[in-house]
């Protein structure tokens, strides 16, 4: 029975390449489609992704009974120096669960986009880019070679760049696209150097290769055995370099600055790329190379130096971004900072609890954050492209379905107890952080972040859906409308997902955990400390909700320009948060300015120093040339000219004789003859 199941994994891995290739084909076809082929574009992109989803479900089904069995498919791509470079893909529970999530959430967002982008003139191009993105993301997820993973990673970044800058005629969008690409590229260089180093050490970039891959025993043992700068183990150094890439892509502090700006893209893009999938790629990467992250000479599972860094960065990001989110007014920016914060939680989960803990939050977050973003998109669409929450209000009466689904998303994000998936996944993270031996602080930071999360989401709910409408329109002429069905249906499905996912991850029946780690799931008694943490996190949610209600729900917010209640309470703190701790400004003053100065210096060096040297040499040469010329003219030529002059004078004299007149010649001849005759006669006489 087991052999049969494993066999099905190995056969499923053969067709795994179809998952990214189908959307890639769609993207390729759409690149040549005309702008007016709207229906064709939308249909093709959605059909391709649905087909991918079906293949992904097949692969997922194959892994169900395989107990964490891993199947790989490798092939030689090119001869690389002395050794062949082999690429491949891998099918294990991590891959399977990611492909299903990406294709499912992706399909829903594609459908939503048909409604959201209906009026855009570049509809076809939009779906081309979306399909390209989906293809790259799926390729990243199935890759069994770090280089292939990096290639897809870069393509994902490229698609993200194209989509953030989709409305490139907005200067802010163009700037945001550029910023996103460059900031993530900074992290990627670390990742890339990590790949180079890993290749130099192990001679392979295949992750799993029947015992010879770089994540498998022998290679890891080799990496752990050697130390590098500062006594750091090589595996830790490489793991940290790879984590740099993850930090860039997943917006971890201090490389988080691009993600909120990326909200300049169309909202479905924010939902798909900057909430549900791409930003999770960094978390996925850490999970993918977890054996490397976990490798530790002291051999204490879960406490390797690399994982400690992951934990701390995650915890700091979680609280830091949650703080900023409290003071933002743009509906999408709040969600963006919330995403940064949640990504921090995922990292915290990976660092303290392992792959299953982090990835479960990744999956649940993908559903409820996609839901929230699409809900925000629906709100923005309904309010005629208004994004400032102070100009909204009372929308629950105009957009009931959007309100209901948004509320589900909000509760899931806040971790409202028992019925929402976010509660279970966040609870698991807090629990593992609580049990983390090296320090209790990440747990405290995470717990404080949980209060803040509930607080800023409550604030947003009150601003957007409660009270009365504060748009600038005259009273009684509210133009807000509910969105069309093609936009609302995906919301409902995502909301269902956000609730139902909680079934598979409760402490009583931790099916998801068991599936990822390759154990059989079983109902198990819940430990006391788990219940205590659950009670605590319930209390935290209640605290956040209560604070939010007390500040924003108790009294109506009268006008769009009335000060924020929190601002009235704590003006200075609020300013710091509103200005996002001045991180952007700090970068502007330091990194950007330094870079500009270096550029100027190099340019100056080129124009004045190297150019000056060249000019100097050429002036020197010209100077010498002038001296030579003067010598020629007045020393050498003077004698020569004199000589020439006398020759010329003689010649002119002589030429008088040769003027071509025959008579004169004859005359001369006659004269000469006469003289000759006279001389002759005179001579003969004597």
């Amino acid at each position: 029975m087991a052999a049969l199941k494993v066999g099905s994994v190995t056969s499923a891995v053969q067709s795994l390449w179809l998952i990214p290739v189908l959307p890639l084909l769609a993207a390729g076809l759409l690149a040549f489609a005309k702008q007016r082929h709207r229906v064709f574009a939308g249909t093709l992109a959605i059909v391709a992704l649905v087909a991918s989803f079906i293949v992904a479900c097949g692969a997922f089904a194959a892994t169900l009974g395989a107990h964490g069995e891993r199947a790989v498919f490798n092939f030689t791509w090119l001869q690389f120096g002395e050794t062949p470079l082999r690429l491949g893909w891998v099918l294990d529970p991590l891959t399977a669960v990611m492909v299903v999530m990406v294709t499912l959430v992706g399909t829903l967002i594609f459908i939503f986009s048909v409604g959201y982008m209906a009026e855009d003139e570049n509809f076809t191009r939009f779906f081309c880019f979306l399909s390209l993105f989906a293809a790259a993301m799926l390729g990243l997820v199935i890759a069994n070679n770090l280089l292939l993973l990096f290639v897809c990673w870069e393509l994902v970044g490229l698609a993200s760049y194209l989509l953030i800058g989709f409305w490139y005629h907005k200067p802010s969008a163009a700037a945001a696209a550029k910023k996103a690409f460059i900031v993530t590229r900074i992290g990627d260089i670390g990742f890339f150097i990590g790949i180079l180093w890993l290749y130099a050490e192990t001679g392979t970039l295949l992750l799993y290769d029947n015992g010879n891959g770089c994540l498998e025993g022998s290679a890891l043992a080799q990496l752990v055995a050697r130390t590098t700068i500062g006594g750091m183990v090589v595996s830790t150094a490489i793991a940290l370099l790879i984590f740099c890439g993850a930090m860039g892509k997943s917006g971890q502090v201090p490389l988080h600055v691009w993600l909120p700006d990326a909200m300049e893209g169309p909202t479905p893009v924010s939902a798909l790329i900057h909430a549900a999938t791409m930003v999770a790629a960094g978390v996925f990467l850490v999970a993918r190379v977890y054996p490397l992250m976990d490798a530790d000479p002291a051999n204490v599972a879960g406490h390797s130096p690399a994982l400690c860094v992951v934990t701390w960065i995650g915890a700091i990001t979680a609280i830091f971004a949650a703080l900023i989110a409290v003071a933002q007014n743009d509906i999408k920016r709040i969600l963006a900072y919330s995403t940064v914060s949640q990504l921090g939680y995922m990292m915290l989960g990976l660092g303290t609890g392992g792959v299953a803990v982090g990835i479960f939050h990744l999956i649940t977050h993908a559903f409820f954050k996609a839901l929230l973003f699409l809900g925000a998109g629906s709100v923005i669409h309904g309010c005629h492209h208004e994004q400032d929450i102070r100009r909204m209000g009372g929308l629950r009466r105009f957009m009931p379905l959007t309100f209901a689904t948004y509320a589900v998303g909000m509760m899931a994000l806040a971790g409202f107890p028992l019925f929402f998936s976010g509660f279970w996944s966040k609870d698991e993270i807090l629990h593992s952080a609580f049990a983390w031996a090296p320090s209790r602080w990440p747990f405290y930071l995470g717990a404080a972040g949980a209060v803040l999360t509930t607080f800023y989401m409550t604030r947003q709910m009150f601003y957007v859906f409660f009270g009365h409408n504060r748009a600038d329109e005259p009273a009684g002429h509210v133009h807000v409308h509910e969105s069309p069905a093609i936009m609302v249906v995906p919301l409902v499905i995502l909301a269902a997902g956000a609730v139902l996912l909680s079934i598979v991850g409760t402490p009583a029946w931790p099916w998801f955990h068991a599936y990822l780690t390759g154990h059989a799931a079983a109902v198990q008694p819940v430990a006391v400390d788990v219940i205590l943490i659950m009670l605590l996190s319930t209390a935290l949610v209640a605290l956040g909700l209560g604070l939010g209600w007390w500040l924003y729900g108790r009294r109506r917010i009268e006008r769009a320009d009335s000060p924020d209640p929190l601002e009235a309470l704590q003006a200075d703190t609020f300013t710091v948060l509103r200005q996002k701790f001045w991180i952007d400004e700090a970068y502007d003053k330091t990194v950007v300015r330094l870079n500009r100065a270096l550029c100027r210096a190099a340019d100056w060096l080129d124009v004045f120093v190297w150019g000056g040297l060249v000019a100097l040499v050429s002036y020197l040469a010209v100077g010498i040339a002038w001296v030579n010329r003067l010598i020629d003219e007045y020393v050498v030529n003077l004698g020569f000219d004199k000589g020439c002059g006398s020759v010329r004078w003689t010649a002119r004299l002589l030429s008088l004789w040769q003027n071509g007149q025959v008579q004169r010649y004859l005359r001369a001849l006659g004269v000469a003859l006469a003289i000759f005759v006279l001389i002759f006669i005179w001579g003969c006489r004597g």
Binding site: I189, L196, D603, W610, G611
Partner: protein, 518 residues
């Protein structure tokens, strides 16, 4: 077959002599046919080449026996890769010069002469012959820039030629010294590269001869700080000449440095390797930095060439199979990508807008006026910044893996150059094509029924850029050839890598590959 690449080019020059200059169409056709025939020869030779065969002699005749000079043409995988590049660049360059009307006959004659010289350098295995072809390639460049160039053309042309001649003077001194010393040592005076490479030159001699010959050649490859001819020369040159300059002429330098300096003087190479690698990395970072603050579109590309050629030189200094083959692949890749970039800037943009100032291009919204150019430039920019899927990625990856084994710190510094590379490319893309009309942008922002307004304003007749002529068929074909080349090599590099790797297996090149750290 391979020798015909050289003969055909010069025959083409000869044929052009018999066409009346007024018959521009005939002149172009002859030039294009000549270049195409050369490309066909190059492709046939590359695909007909047996990768196990080592260096294959094409022709060997005594030329000046008294001095040991022979007419010795041969090829290995490295030569063939570069011959192939020259063939592609030659054809595409002519396609992008299709609009040349002013003295077209002379233009194409000089052009073909340059191509002939370049082909000659890549397949000469007699150093004297190689040097003759090398000089032969310099002269037409001067006229191409000085007559058909733009901005500051006399200055650019003169600077380029002076640099080239100073470089070749250094090379000549080194070669003659090697010739004499080898003659004294073995008793036979010869310029045959294969024979000279077997001679064990005294260490003291190698110590000064290597930098002389290497730097002499590398001047043309844009080695920092001898690179300043490159930006000004590229900017001054007409489109096709900049494409050739960046595409193949810079490779002459790198090829000479690899083929002559590195094979003749291995001890000198070992002594100077670290210093040159440092210069190469400075070139990578420095070129990228300068490119970031240029105001002239073509200068951005010019400096990017300096940066990318730094990877070639770094790859050469790694002395590992992977780094060396990466360097040769980077020569090919940069030739294609830089050609594409210059084609967009020089032909598609400058010939239409008559300005290259980024500030002037910014308000034009060129992406709507000439969308084909915009898409081409985005693709070229992505290829140039080392996006996976294009040839540059594979090449730079190999160079970096090699560099990691030889000089880990330098490999990390290259990362800095790559990031800045992304920054200047994106800056150029956005400023030149995607800034859009500021007025339209503000309409877009403040109006909610944006789309209708937007399309109305785009079709307004007052739009100054709507009068630009559309991208012509030859331009489209040229761009398609270059894009196809970089994508094919990017996705299936084995085609070229097998060829290149076989080049490093021969008795001449194999001793170079040492591997291991410094």
């Amino acid at each position: 077959m391979l020798a015909w690449t050289v003969y055909l080019s010069f025959l083409g020059v000869l044929a052009l002599m018999f066409v009346p200059g007024a018959n521009v169409r005939g002149v172009r056709t002859i030039a294009l046919l000549t270049a195409l025939a050369g490309l066909v020869c190059a492709v046939a030779a590359a695909f007909g080449y047996d990768t196990k065969a080592g260096i294959q002699t094409v022709a060997k005749q005594p030329w000046i026996p008294a001095l040991g000079i022979s007419y010795f043409l041969a090829a290995d995988g490295i030569s063939l890769t570069l011959v192939l590049l020259t063939g592609i660049a030659a054809v595409v360059g002519i396609l992008f010069s299709w609009n040349i009307e002013h003295r077209a006959k002379e233009f194409f004659a000089f052009y073909l002469a340059l191509i002939g010289g370049v082909y000659g350098v890549f397949i000469s295995f007699d150093l004297f012959l190689l040097f003759v072809f090398y000089e032969l390639a310099i002269i037409p460049k001067y006229f191409l820039i000085a007559i058909w160039g733009s901005t500051n053309r006399e200055y650019g042309a003169m600077k380029l030629v002076l640099y080239s001649f100073v470089g070749s003077a250094l090379v000549l001194i080194g070669l003659i010294a090697a010739y004499v010393i080898a003659g004294l040592q073995t008793g036979t005076y010869t310029f045959d590269l294969l024979a000279l490479a077997k001679v064990q030159f005294p260490e003291q001699f190698q110590y000064w001869a290597f930098p002389l010959v290497f730097v002499g050649f590398a001047v043309l490859a844009g080695l920092w700080p001898f690179h300043t001819w490159a930006p000004t020369g590229h900017v001054a040159a007409p489109t096709a000449a900049s494409m050739l300059l960046a595409g193949v002429v810079m490779k002459l330098g790198a090829y000479g440095a690899l083929r002559v300096a590195m094979t003749l003087f291995p001890l000198g190479l070992a002594a100077w390797r670290g210093e040159i690698a440092v210069l190469a990395v400075i070139g990578i970072v420095y070129g990228a930095l300068v490119a970031l603050v240029q105001r002239d579109f073509k200068f951005v590309i010019g400096y990017s060439s300096v940066s990318h050629m730094g990877f070639v030189l770094l790859g050469l200094m790694t002395l590992t199979t992977i780094g060396l083959s990466g360097a040769v692949l980077q020569m090919f890749s940069h030739g294609i990508i830089a050609g594409l970039l210059f084609a967009v800037v020089g032909r598609m943009v400058y010939d239409r807008t008559h300005t290259r100032e980024l500030a002037d291009l910014e308000p034009m919204g060129l992406n709507r006026a000439i969308p084909f150019a915009a898409v081409t430039f985005v693709i070229a920019g992505l290829a140039s910044m080392g996006m996976p899927g294009f040839s540059g990625f594979i090449a730079e990856l190999q160079v970096l893996i090699g560099a990691w084994q030889a000089f880990p710190t330098l490999a990390v510094l290259c990362g800095l150059g790559i990031i800045i590379g992304v920054a200047y490319t994106l800056r150029a893309i956005q400023k030149s094509f995607f800034s859009g009309n500021i007025l339209e942008a503000s309409i877009q922002r403040f109006n909610d029924s944006t789309i209708q307004r937007f399309s109305e304003s785009a079709s307004r007749p007052s739009n100054p850029t709507s009068t630009l002529e559309t991208i012509s068929i030859p331009e489209r074909i040229g761009a398609a050839i270059l894009i196809a080349s970089t994508v094919i090599i990017g996705l299936y590099p084995t085609v070229l890598l097998n060829l290149i790797r076989s080049g490093f297996d021969s008795a001449l090149m194999a001793p170079l590959v040492k591997g291991g750290p410094l």
